[in-house]
Symmetry: C2
Subunit: 416 residues, 2 copies
Amino acid sequence: MTEISKLALRAREAARALARTSTAQRDGALVAMAAALRSQSALILAANALDMEAAREAGTPAPLLDRLMLDAGRIDGIATAVEALAREVDPIGEVVSGHRMPNGIRLQQIRVPLGVVAMIYEARPNVTADAAALCVKTGNAAVLRGGSLAIRSCLAISDVLSRAATEAGLPEASIQSITSTDRAATDELMSLHGLIDVLIPRGGAGLIRNCVENSKVPVIETGVGNCHIYVHSGADLEMALAIVMNAKCQRPGVCNAAESLLVDAAVCETHLPTILRALADAGVELHGDERTRSLGVVEVVPATEADWGTEYLDMKMSVKVVSGLDEAIEHINTYGTKHSEAIVTGDYEAGQRFLDEIDAAAVYVNASTRFTDGAEFGLGAEIGISTQKLHARGPMGLVALTSTKYLAMGDGQVRP
Amino acid sequence: MTEISKLALRAREAARALARTSTAQRDGALVAMAAALRSQSALILAANALDMEAAREAGTPAPLLDRLMLDAGRIDGIATAVEALAREVDPIGEVVSGHRMPNGIRLQQIRVPLGVVAMIYEARPNVTADAAALCVKTGNAAVLRGGSLAIRSCLAISDVLSRAATEAGLPEASIQSITSTDRAATDELMSLHGLIDVLIPRGGAGLIRNCVENSKVPVIETGVGNCHIYVHSGADLEMALAIVMNAKCQRPGVCNAAESLLVDAAVCETHLPTILRALADAGVELHGDERTRSLGVVEVVPATEADWGTEYLDMKMSVKVVSGLDEAIEHINTYGTKHSEAIVTGDYEAGQRFLDEIDAAAVYVNASTRFTDGAEFGLGAEIGISTQKLHARGPMGLVALTSTKYLAMGDGQVRP
């Protein structure tokens, strides 16, 4: 048996024991885990220094280095988030539905852990702590697989958390990390149907596609966001400008940032020039269709077919003039990734149709797509944003890490 | 582009249009579909007669022939089930949750169709009508693929329903069937990630395993039920006898029938002989462990390791004497398929521990496993019984064929 199968088997055992822990035990473990992050921060920072050194030598770009970097303040922030989870309401054990059956059986559907949750993620060390803590909160065993760039930091955090959880009375192997960062480890993890209950990849489109196409374990697709802002003919220019600038520029590297701008032909001469100038002034590289380019207000690269489907995660934006609502909806449903889509309009019917007809996890009228987020939506801690339709859609809170089971209490009932 | 890709693309288009239909339109279509089944029953019966003839020539066993056979009464029953769906509450559009965000955005999570639902199933022609009707009710486009034995009946039913739905105003291609019954058609269907939103296989363990292992489209695992009845030392013999006999013999070919009997050593001499005799008298072939065989009450074949994991779907049962609750839970969690499991006991603590520690969709104290069923659980029409933990677990009603999306209505909010 391979190391990864053994690790998964241990996780399976841990999951059975975790399913029997109480809320108080799991919340107590979270408090202990947060304390351990703080008291053993030197160990974590030393591992992170080695990751940083290797990353610098490999010529890693500055924004990635910044994501990778830990300091005492950041570790404290991670610990505070773990502590905060201990104060959230426990979803496990909730009676979701129930009634007395006509034959007298007392039926209830209760919320239970999923079992073993595997996560594959990339460069951010904090994801290790977030994922481990969310799994502990929901009574799931965690199998974590961090990216190579952050592997030393991830393993250090995982070790600290795993020891703290065990010392606090949770089963051994409640939190485990895979030390290997090669592709074979991912492939093996994806093959362990029956041992792992769900695989959540968080990272680039390539990682997620690989999981979706090759995993025998059920996958929750997350994060890829080719989000649009559609400026309808009924839009107020100032509102449209504010929303476009916020959605594109406030934090361009995240999945709910806008990547594409659609503008109605009816307002392309009144509204678009102002928006294009503001985007160009902010340093956004524009990829536009012929009509946008012909306005001649700023430099616009000719957009290719590929641009319409690209999540830049960068200060770039594609721009297209559309004939109206129908074309905008058709375009978004064709090229979007079903993440977050927004219309700016003062027209009631256009707003209603956009809400109804756009197929996405979150659909906005007159607001920035940047609000698609667990905390913003009031879900508390977030494990990711699902762009699929099964199980969970949109920001995934604690409930997304749970399943249900039916309990039936009778006094001898048999089926006639 | 292949025929199946074209069909899936048409389904995708239909799904977009279906998402815009009203409850009244979809319920009206269901009534029309039921009427068409009755008015065109001759056409369906003619197709079924050809299936029956071919099946008889191929030496198909009598129970399968009975499942395959249609007559006017059965078609009327199918039509009545379709009509009944029209009277159920529409889950689509339900506001599942919502609140006003602190910044004033009106947020609501509403229930929407999944999109395109594909079903692969085996010999029962009525599944075609059930699946098509459930999809229409929930605004999903249906792609159906019936088994070769029933293919003429399935295609006839699908044609009748599809025409009736279109005439009633639903989009073309809302209901489509795949005419090819070869393996390549299934394989291609499983590869259409992005066109098909979910694949639900209904049939034997081999079909389901093939889908789980090879599908790029998300799969909902259904139905395989290696269900146990555990007679605890605190069980009343009469109650245990009634539950075992009901769970094993009332309808042995279905997934919630019991396949395995566990009996505490403490009562194996007081309780087991009576139960074994009753099972043997009813014609159940017993596969037992050494302890069971040594009782010498009736003929018991030696059980092999394979017996503990086998869903017989037949008048056969494996029997094992266990040392107590711990061994019973361990055995069930090892060999069970997470479908339906029951304990018979008068002991409060044993019942509570069984409910907590057994990992299955439905866990029973003092009742037959045969109650795991959408209608019995009050869910109305059922599309299958999920034995996985993601998305839906246990009997799947209309809600299992839905997803949600967030609608956010603002007045210019941007993220600070």
